[in-house]
Symmetry: D2
């Protein structure tokens, strides 16, 4: 994974998703070199960049123009620009106009997660994967319910990471916010 500190960050745009969580999302996504990935809510580009290192093509969506600009900068910094198409807009509106894809990452949804998952599912190729990262109690359940409704069996992993900070006094364990990764195969 790209180290957290190697991402340009700006205030007002969340991310990048921490290294360890990006790592687990990538494992669950099982992206193959010929795949097309859609990343809904690309934020700082954390998952967009990791996907771009593995996939043939990534389409990164965000409704916040600053997030797209930041993702663009991070892509450039890591030489990954050519593989990625940046699309500004609410996933609710722009997903419909997008080609079919093999992997559907959802990292932001603004209250419309069930609908976004359903729309992504429509465009998802057979055997394609959906991977949702959730930091809210509510969206975890929405993701599980929607994937079940679509006939899939969700894999649910709640991840709690503490990182050791090496200090003079010893190794201080610093907690991170828990994240739940919900994934399924079509």
């Amino acid at each position: 994974m790209i180290p957290d500190e190697d991402f340009v960050q700006i205030q007002g745009v969340p991310g990048p998703t921490k290294e360890e969580v990006r790592c687990l999302v990538m494992c669950k996504a099982r992206i193959a070199s010929n795949d097309t990935v859609v990343d809904v809510g690309c934020g700082s580009g954390g998952l967009t960049l990791e996907s771009a290192r593995k996939a043939r093509k990534v389409i990164a969506l965000d409704k916040n123009p600053e997030a797209l600009e930041l993702t663009r900068q991070n892509l450039q910094k890591h030489g990954l620009t050519p593989k990625v198409q940046l699309v500004e807009g609410d996933a609710l509106e722009v997903l419909e106009g997008i080609e079919s894809f093999d992997t559907f990452l959802v990292g932001g949804s603004s209250g419309d997660l069930p609908f976004i998952i359903k729309q992504g599912y429509e465009k998802l190729n057979k055997h394609g994967r959906i991977v949702v990262t959730s930091i809210l109690l509510e969206t975890r359940v929405e993701a599980v319910d929607t994937l079940k409704e679509l006939g899939m069996t969700p894999d649910v992993v709640e991840v709690t990471i503490a990182k050791g900070k090496i200090t003079e006094r010893g190794t201080m364990m610093l907690g991170r916010n828990p994240i739940t990764i919900i994934s399924a195969v079509k």
Copy 2:
């Protein structure tokens, strides 16, 4: 437990230990109404105040005079002053001069945890309890090793708490630093 926000806090003095951790420390300490408690590293007074609500007497030590002053303020704010004796100094030096006690809480040690535990053990009454809270990888092991060396069987509980923050978008889970509580009975 006293709500976290009901403690006066100042920069430079750690604590109070969060409500949920104070709760668990108090459970492990099993303080009876006739007990004398020693709190090493009283900091903001988090554990001193909770102990004072249960014990006959609490002796609160800290090597930082600001911590003692802050503990004094918090005791006053909650009407618990009469039960508590405040002692300034390094536990290494002042423990020796203190009367015997029933409960030994250790929340700070500055690299001398094994020695502090051993000194406390000397003054601990039979059936008394030692409860160490540790935020460093190293002190967890020091506590376990020292308690075993003294012939006790340590109870080790690693606690990871996430608190839900109610927001407009939903319940955001905010991680806390993990804390390990190591306790034993003489």
Copy 3:
């Protein structure tokens, strides 16, 4: 708290809630000596017994007669029988017939959590507390949503505990299932 191993246990009845979780539930419940507590889904009696040590009266409900019998045995073993009334039946049906109370503990709900919370709320005295323990992703959200709907502000604590097992090779950390405690004051 009563040590886990001091509860009689039988197959087919869940519980007792582990010591550390009982401790946190009791802290959130803030039971006073004159209070009446209702424990919905008493199971092995874990929370019933702890409540009985603090309250004036406890009403323990379970729809499983074996759970009531087990709770009865555990009450007897710990000399807490006189304070507790055991009621067999589905909370949905029996709550209505019960006197008003100060503390409402919910540890089992069989899919009817929102309705059970609402019924409990009706009988809950002013300034009374509701404390729900949840092991399912779904019931956490149901509890939060229902408490918000009733105009309360839920306190949400997700607790992950690992216990150290002292072995010859060292202290092996054994994970427990995470539990979420959702509580609120009327």
Copy 4:
């Protein structure tokens, strides 16, 4: 990653390391296609197989002949046999006779972790990586201390995973034992 259930397992041999932890270990190990990996304590072959999918060559050590036989079976099942050399013996004794390598994975040590790390360090190529997985309180500290002693800066990640089990009643969160991954670059 290879799904947990796709490994042959036998009683008496630990592993495979769970999918999510294998994923994080692989991320920390950053194995390149031309690398040689040494896996100390290959157990069921969990990390051996994952390494074999990325590296040029893997040398898998275990002092338990049953572990080597099981790893052999798992390699065969997944068509990864050609890349892996199996070596029976205590790491303490066999490491010395082994060629230099780029990645040093340690998943078992039987009380000799500091010495094993030091021996591995000797054979580790410049810019090579050491990744230790630890389930004991004590070995976490031994790993951190030894890596610091060798002049490296350890990255310490404590990972707590709960997996959702989809049941009729809802998504039950099942806790796993926490694991700490300590890694460093030469």
